[in-house]
């Protein structure tokens, strides 16, 4: 049996696809949320922040259970799925993306929020006195200064999506080519005593995780050197 079998390749590619799409959606959603959390002053700010942070402490099965209800045929997910003739969002790739986004949200929001908060009001005030509109200030000052926060958020979001297991099992099932991602595949191989495949995938995960973190660190270091 070859190392890179079609079955293994499929789950690796599916995992990367899921993580990449989830991370992109996460960045789009988390950035305005983090900006709002860093600048809003009302008492409800921390309530929203706590809701966003819930997946940090909730067991993935609990989260998965609620998502299953929401995405299932009788929940909002089912109604949306009916728009294109499907019955449910559960046990689909789309449902997995939604689950990953919810699950990984705190890991992306928190570093970006911290980065926005750490720069303080001064750079934004300076930009405003130089006639920059709030939108221009955001893109030309806030985002570049919060770059390390974005990098950290993206790495964490990507890595957590790659590594999630309980949630995928609850809402994704184990459908090859659709929801059978790496972590579930490893579990599957172990259960069916296919140790060889399991060790190939586990080894791949270790190398991949290491490579991602190293790359991001190097990019960040280089960025700092250019800024310095």
């Amino acid at each position: 049996m070859e190392i890179w079998s079609a079955e293994i390749r499929q789950s690796v590619l599916l995992t990367i696809e899921l993580a990449a799409i989830s991370t992109a959606i996460l960045l789009v959603l988390a950035t305005p949320l983090a900006w709002w959390l860093a600048h809003a002053k009302g008492w409800w700010t921390e309530i929203i922040a706590s809701v966003v942070a819930l997946p940090l402490v909730l067991p993935p099965t609990v989260l998965g259970f609620y998502l299953l209800v929401l995405l299932g045929p009788d929940g909002p997910g089912g109604w949306i799925a009916r728009l294109w003739g499907a019955r449910t969002l559960a046990f689909t790739f789309e449902g997995l993306v939604i689950g990953s986004v919810v699950y990984s949200m705190p890991f992306v929001v928190q570093p970006i929020r911290n980065a926005f908060a750490a720069m303080g009001e001064r750079p934004l005030e300076v930009a405003a006195t130089l006639r920059a509109s709030p939108l221009r200030t955001f893109w030309t000052v806030a985002v570049p200064l919060a770059r390390p926060g974005f990098l950290t958020g993206a790495v964490l979001g990507f890595a957590h999506t790659v590594g999630e297991f309980g949630l995928v099992l609850m809402i994704g099932g184990n459908i090859p080519g659709r929801t059978k991602v790496l972590s579930v595949a490893i579990f599957d191989y172990v259960e069916t005593s296919r140790w060889r495949e399991a060790s190939i995938l586990a080894g791949f995960m270790v190398i991949f995780a290491f490579a991602v973190i190293l790359t991001m660190t190097l990019i960040d270091k280089r960025g700092r050197r250019i800024a310095a």
């Binding site: 750079p123 405003a128 006195t129 709030p134």
Partner: protein, 455 residues
């Protein structure tokens, strides 16, 4: 002042900022440099921030040259106000080069009041353009910040203590640039400072602030007396009331008549320790030295930490403005501090140099316990007195006997209350200024000191 006038800057802001209440109304010409002066925490910065729109007061009005920026109904956001704002810290964008920082607010369209090349030349920035902000010195950064504000083509330049975060050498390096900016551009400027010497260098118009209120406004030369920079607790009793307290043994009559100053020209101000007159004398001498009077000597000041505990002592050479020494307290919990041997040696050099330069007045701002015990700056005082130059010092009441022993009874010792001395000094510094303006001989201060009448 809640209506727009062409040629004027009209502003009024009222409201609470935390525990602080701001209630200001001002109307100043929309030309030249208007200085806002007052002690720290009096609300100067809040006024500038309100004018810029960085701080929004619900009850506010702001109009510049007839153009309304804020009134009851409308509030123009910061980025739509044609202002330049120089913050106390340069606040350059760390991710942009000097050149990109400068160009950040520069409009793309032609028809500008000042061009890039002109700003670079004016502020001496050509060698810095491709550097990153964190490779610049503090003074260079502030020059870039000023250039950046100018290039945004403002109609009003707000400068919030632009030199306060810099050391004295750097300040002196930047001041000429600021003067050039003010000379070359016909741009109205709000210059906020608690340093009168900066203000005197370029302000045309002065707004005095205290505790969130405007207490005076007018052309610079008409506004006197100026309160000494420092704590606000003094302002409460600045009345011309003078009275004698305590031991009258060497006093003639009250109010103090400085005709009584001995021909030997050694004047000591006796004070009760709670009046802290030695610190007041240090303020006074430093203010005069900074304004260009020929004063020499050494002033010592206690350094206090945030909680008000004494943590050391600082001595300043009045002629050079140099800090001589900071030393540690005498022991744990001890309230008194003193200079160490190296500090004393440097103080001696400072006094000797002042005597050699034949200054008009030598100030050594205390003759206290250490001097009474034959230590401290006793020899320096003796040297200055022996040189025949007028000497002014402050002696705590309890050291009067030691002082009399030391001087052999020559000179004048006057027991004064803090408020009386303040009134006299304010009057004296304004008289000295007038004398200087009239180009009197340089020994005017000595003459004034000897001739001055109070009351």
């Amino acid at each position: 002042m809640r209506h727009a006038e062409p040629g004027q800057i009209n502003a009024a802001f009222r409201g609470r900022l935390g525990t602080f209440t701001l209630d200001v109304a001002l109307s100043v010409p929309a030309t030249g440099v208007t200085a806002i002066f007052g002690p720290s925490g009096c609300g100067k910065t809040s006024v500038a921030r309100c004018i810029a729109g960085l701080q929004r007061m619900a009850d506010g009005f702001c109009a510049v040259d007839g153009d309304i920026w804020q009134d009851r109904k409308s509030f123009r956001p910061v980025h739509r106000r044609p202002i330049g704002y120089v913050f106390q810290e340069a606040s350059l964008f760390p991710h942009l080069s000097v050149r990109s920082n400068l160009l950040f607010g520069a409009p793309k369209a032609a028809g500008v009041q000042i061009g890039f090349d002109e700003v670079v030349e004016l502020l001496g920035l050509s060698a810095l353009l491709d550097r990153a902000p964190n490779r610049l010195s503090g003074g260079e950064r502030q020059r870039v910040a000023i250039g950046r504000a100018l290039l945004s083509q403002p109609k009003l330049l707000l400068m919030d203590e632009p030199l306060a975060a810099l050391d004295r050498t750097t300040k002196n390096e930047i001041l000429p640039f600021l003067e050039r900016v003010h000379e070359r551009l016909s741009l109205p400027v709000f210059y906020i400072s608690h340093d009168m010497t900066e203000i005197e260098r370029f302000a045309d118009h002065l707004v005095l602030m205290e505790q969130g209120r405007v207490v005076g406004s007018g052309p610079l030369h008409t506004l006197h007396p100026i309160p000494l920079a420092g704590s606000s607790d003094r302002h409460g009793d600045c009345s011309p009331r003078r009275k004698s307290v305590g031991n009258r043994m060497r006093m003639t009559s009250m109010p103090i008549d400085f005709h009584d100053i001995d021909p030997n020209r050694v004047a000591a101000i006796l004070y009760r320790s709670q009046d802290d007159v030695d610190a007041l004398l240090a303020d006074f001498a430093e203010t005069l030295a900074r304004s260009g009077e020929r004063i020499g000597g050494v002033v010592q000041r206690n350094i206090k930490d945030g909680a008000g505990c004494q943590v050391g002592m600082q001595a300043i050479d009045l002629m050079t403005g140099r800090e001589i020494s900071i030393c540690q307290p005498l022991g744990s919990g001890a309230m008194a501090c003193k200079l160490d041997a190296a500090g004393l040696a440097e103080a001696a050099v400072a006094v000797t140099r002042a005597i050699a330069a034949d200054v008009d007045l030598v100030v050594i701002n205390k003759f206290s316990k250490q001097e009474a015990a034959g230590e401290g700056l006793r020899d320096e005082l003796a040297g200055a007195i022996a040189a025949g130059i007028p000497v002014l010092t402050a002696v705590p009441e309890k050291c009067l006997d030691a002082w009399n022993d030391f001087t052999g009874g020559i000179g004048t010792s006057l027991l004064c209350e803090r408020s009386a001395i303040e009134g006299w000094w304010q009057d004296l510094s304004s008289r000295m200024k007038r004398a200087r303006d009239a180009r009197l001989p340089s020994d005017a201060s000595a003459a004034l000191l000897a001739d001055h009448h109070v009351g």
